[in-house]
Symmetry: C2
Subunit: 218 residues, 2 copies
DNA sequence: TTAAAAAGTGAGTACTCAATCACTATAAAT
DNA sequence: ATTTATAGTGATTGAGTACTCACTTTTTAA
């Protein structure tokens, strides 16, 4: 049933993605920019080649297919989306005794900056996920799988401290994930904001705290 | 500068959109389904014709261009998106003395059902808005223009009753719009949920109330 | 009943696009 | 210096595309 065909391809790409030529870098750079602006389907390989100052054949020599060029853009982004955050932030959080609210704020700021730094790739990502069922069906579960255990551990800690409402962890995960996910998507992908100030982060934090924090509920 | 070229086209479509042939209806039906599934760019007019049991020429006889077929799908949806709600719900609200929370709940339920009934068109709408700058730049202001005065009136009423936090109305409008908008988009367009239970609506209402309601703020 | 108008057809057209391939230029290894 | 491997080229291909047009069928009006 084509089981994780995509994830296998991704693994291949990761191995090959080390030594890039100057021209390869230029191709990627231009492709990211065009895909983000006009979408994958509306971008011709000829246009990428022209703007990158490269023959069209060069693209296919390196990436084989247009589809594979897209994956070569998205995979390194995905690889960085979770693990980096995990090791830096989650550990720090578990040692220091910061509040749930402060943790959320730090977390959102951290990921916001990452997404701002990679705004174009993020846009490519969202836009393609909307169309390609395969992408959605394989990557969303993968992302959840990556994030779920860590997130569960964090929620558990804060529930025991009495800072998070006493509901099944899976339910809280869902609320958190869809809220944060929806927030990032609508900000950076749909309305293409170039910035995000602390005030807006405070807002979403307040929303979440009031939604799943265990403050007295009138 | 192509000023509201699109809105003119939309006006034309509205006038012509009355008496539809059986084949026209079938074309629209198939086009909506295919555009929603695979996106506008990835759908060939030949495929629409085939699935609709119609010659390809028939499509162009009626709609002229593929682009115009897309508009013919979106315009009636847009026309219904705001006014219907306005006349039914807003008036009712102003006479009865329902609370801000209850108003929000009713409003969200009302619009949720509308979007569920037109889920495919809504998906087409979101997907294309992401790509087409012209669409975004002309329609989003138009939508805001339509909704803004009514929304302003409502917020004003509730502010005077002391149920909504005392901030500039424009700022509150923004928070409300982006929250609700982002909520609908992430639910129905990205993660394509087929349903939405009352519990989830309660959640978003609670988020908003705690965010901009004037409850004591710890 | 007949004329005019509208709806519907489908082969044909001009064009775009991803992908190929025979080839050259450059760098690395022997 | 010579072979081998890798990077890069660009004209060519063939499948697919939106759209046209001369034509037929059906509906409406006189």
């Amino acid at each position: 049933m084509g089981n994780s065909n995509l994830l296998n391809k991704m693994a291949e790409i990761i191995q090959k993605s080390d030594n890039q030529t100057a021209k390869q870098k230029k191709i990627m750079e231009v492709a990211i920019s065009l895909f983000a602006e006009k979408g994958y389907s509306n971008t011709a390989t000829a246009e990428i080649a022209k703007l990158a100052g490269v023959a069209e054949g060069t693209i296919f020599k390196h990436y084989g297919t247009k589809e594979n060029l897209l994956l070569s853009i998205m995979v390194p982004f995905l690889k960085e989306l979770f693990p980096s955050m995990a090791d830096e932030l989650f550990e720090e959080l578990m040692t220091d005794n910061i509040s749930f609210e402060e943790f959320l704020r730090k977390f959102l700021k951290n990921r916001t900056h990452f997404l701002l730094d990679n705004q174009e790739i993020f846009q490519v990502f969202i836009k393609e996920m909307i169309y390609k069922e395969e992408l959605k069906n394989e990557l969303v579960p993968y992302i959840f799988e990556q994030a779920s255990p860590r997130l569960g551990k964090v929620i558990d800690v804060f529930q025991k401290r009495g800072e998070v409402i006493d509901l099944p962890i899976s339910q809280i995960k869902n609320v958190l994930a869809t809220t944060v996910f929806g927030f990032f998507i609508s900000r950076f992908a749909l309305l293409n904001r170039q910035y995000l100030n602390d005030e807006e982060i405070d807002h979403i934090v307040r929303f979440i705290i009031n939604g799943i924090g265990s403050a007295p509920n009138p």
